[in-house]
Symmetry: C2
């Protein structure tokens, strides 16, 4: 947690009470801050700045001297279309994509997405993972996140329209074109389609390609989904 | 696991028995392979290829028709000097750096490395994490990994000598120069010094700089160590 994310603030609001236990315990136990200490904060959809701890108990922490005058960093001009991964890795993926500044995240079904993943209680916790990502990445504005349970209609009816004015690539280890070659020729693409463990099947790559996605590879080495997402999104920093 | 890593093989060896239970259960339960099926294999320090399952029980799996004729991918021209992280994240960091092809990994002490991390039993399991990384990244050659428990002597006596013929950078969010600007001016550096959670302290950045490391940043967003390592190393792919 590199900032504490506060709710939206009123104009000229100078203090606020925190009641979220995970935030209070993080401030006390990890950051080891006490009354009188200053910490970095941000207000949801607002600015970044500092606050001072005025009082603290196990259930309530009062922050005063709110001074929020720094604009949050710009989002990357990037939509990630990600095959819904195992629930276990979803948290870190959402957190990392949020921290790195991806503007839009579309979680889509794929052949290698087990049906049970769509029933996972982790899907109800996405907002929490976004908050963790914003607090990690020092940002206040959540990415737009959408869930698309049907791959073919999503590609044919929605993604196909983007191709008119956006550049799209799909990560695929067996593509002849490398991501570096693509960037040299065409600049950074605005949409990255990334498979989860096991990658996309040929039918999926074919359908994405038919609707405007250029397949690209990042070398013969196969990376964990999380590593691949950070490698690909890292090129936008 | 994208290949099964076998021990070093003799010339013309055409079959081998696997007794490692984790490998046997992965082949049976995750890959769901059975007698007669072919799978991708690699031999430690040797080549990549295929083998066929000839027989299988809970404790022994016999592979035949060994056909290893593909050279493993080249390593990146890259040494990562990493502040020893929390044991919990060490596994994924070693695995990811191995999979991505880092040639040399130096785990070094830092101000923000808790002393207890050096006593962690995870440090005795590094070879296991390397094997996982090689099996993920489709490689057979382990990175060279060294542990340096004393930061100052390491920087003054060892790293300082590298600066004669290698280019070195230290990741530091408050540096004025970005990694992209560095790469445009000087190409990819051969040594990346990366802090763990909380980053390097000013004294450490100062000492590294004094001995030839150029500080670089990757933007105002602060990433988890794992994410930062993949973002930075990903530039070499």
């Amino acid at each position: 947690m590199n900032i504490l994310l506060l709710p939206e603030l009123d104009n000229n609001q100078s203090s606020i009470n925190i009641t979220e236990r995970s935030q209070i315990s993080h401030i006390q136990q990890v950051l080891e801050l006490k009354v009188g200490d200053s910490l970095k904060v941000g207000s949801v959809n607002g600015r970044l700045g500092t606050a001072v701890i005025e009082s603290v108990s196990d259930t309530k922490l009062k922050l005063g001297c709110l001074n929020l005058d720094i604009m949050p960093p710009s989002k990357l001009d990037l939509t990630v279309v990600l095959a819904l991964p195992r629930p276990k890795v979803l948290r870190r993926l959402i957190m990392d994509m949020t921290a790195i500044g991806v503007a839009e995240i579309i979680l889509v079904n794929s052949y290698r997405t087990d049906k049970s993943y769509w029933q996972s209680p982790m899907l109800n916790r996405i907002d929490e993972f976004v908050t963790e990502g914003l607090q990690q990445g020092v940002d206040t504005i959540a990415p737009n996140i959408q869930l698309k349970k049907r791959f073919k209609p999503f590609v044919e009816d929605e993604l196909s329209l983007w191709a008119k004015d956006r550049s799209l690539v799909v990560a695929h280890p067996y593509s002849p074109l490398s991501f570096n070659q693509y960037i040299e020729q065409s600049g950074l693409p605005q949409v990255l389609c990334i498979g989860a463990e096991g990658g996309w099947i040929d039918y999926e790559v074919g359908l994405l390609q038919e609707h405007g996605c250029q397949p690209i590879h990042i070398g013969s080495r196969i990376l964990r989904t999380e590593a691949a997402v950070n490698v690909l999104c890292g090129r936008y920093l």
